[in-house]
Symmetry: C2
Subunit: 130 residues, 2 copies
DNA sequence: GATAGGGGTTCCAGTTACTGGAAGGTCAAG
DNA sequence: CTTGACCTTCCAGTAACTGGAACCCCTATC
């Protein structure tokens, strides 16, 4: 498979696949003309990566997950620890966004949004309460 | 006020304040020895920026908000449009995180997390359902 | 007067995870 | 033989800072 094929198969842009090779997540072969040649295992790894990224794992965590995946003497506890950390991060971010969302949607609803200058949003930004 | 003083007053690290000057969000004076000298208005702007950033506005949006704030012929609609866009972004991000959170917390709960290798998290990453 | 400290200054590089673009090689079809 | 769709590498840019090095300034103390 050439890069375009695995790109289609995985849903990743070719650029990203090259980048993943650059940082050592995958190591495709090369054919005589210099083109990357991807095995089924490479394609499989890329799909693994897409899925892990979509669950919120960082690229470095994905690297660890891949090595755990390939190590059949792994302890599932190690995987779970990584996943729990990712989950915690996600939940922290959600709490932060919820704060923002609450404050901002209140302001948006209180602003009439017409051609007059007075605006509760700017007033709040200029004089936030402690 | 020196940079340390406004840093304390605003809660921003000095580095960030210098960065905000570099990108033209603030323009503090300079004293003879080359130190930045911040007016009350500068401190006020920095606090405005902190608050706007904490509501999820990008730095570029903050620039616009500041200029709207300083323009008394502004239309509140322009402010509201910016805020509504920020709100939309936040809500989109929350939906995305909610997806992740749901999938990931399910996996974490299904993984026993001991010293054995079998792990539903890795299994799911390796063979995601379509 | 020398020195120690706690300010301040600039500039350069690094972070995360890609993405865009330029310049150019390869290959199959017409 | 050229066209077009691939592929290659390399360089630069994104967002919003952050860390660190090398150096200046000011005050207080020995």
């Amino acid at each position: 498979m050439n890069i375009g094929d695995v790109a289609e198969a995985s849903g990743l842009p070719p650029k990203t696949i090259r980048y993943y090779e650059e940082i050592g997540l995958i190591r495709p072969q090369r054919s005589g003309n210099g083109y990357r040649v991807f095995s089924e295992a490479d394609a499989h790894k890329l799909i693994f990566l897409v899925r892990a990224r979509s669950l919120g794992f960082s690229v470095e965590e994905c690297r660890t997950l891949l090595s755990l995946y390939e190590d059949d003497t792994r302890a599932s506890a190690d995987v779970r620890t990584l996943a729990a950390a990712a989950l915690e991060r996600i939940e922290a971010k959600m709490r932060e966004l919820q704060q923002m969302q609450g404050a901002l949607s209140d302001l948006v609803h209180r602003c009439h949004g017409d051609d007059r200058p007075d605006c509760p949003i700017l007033e709040d930004l200029a004089a936030p309460r402690a």
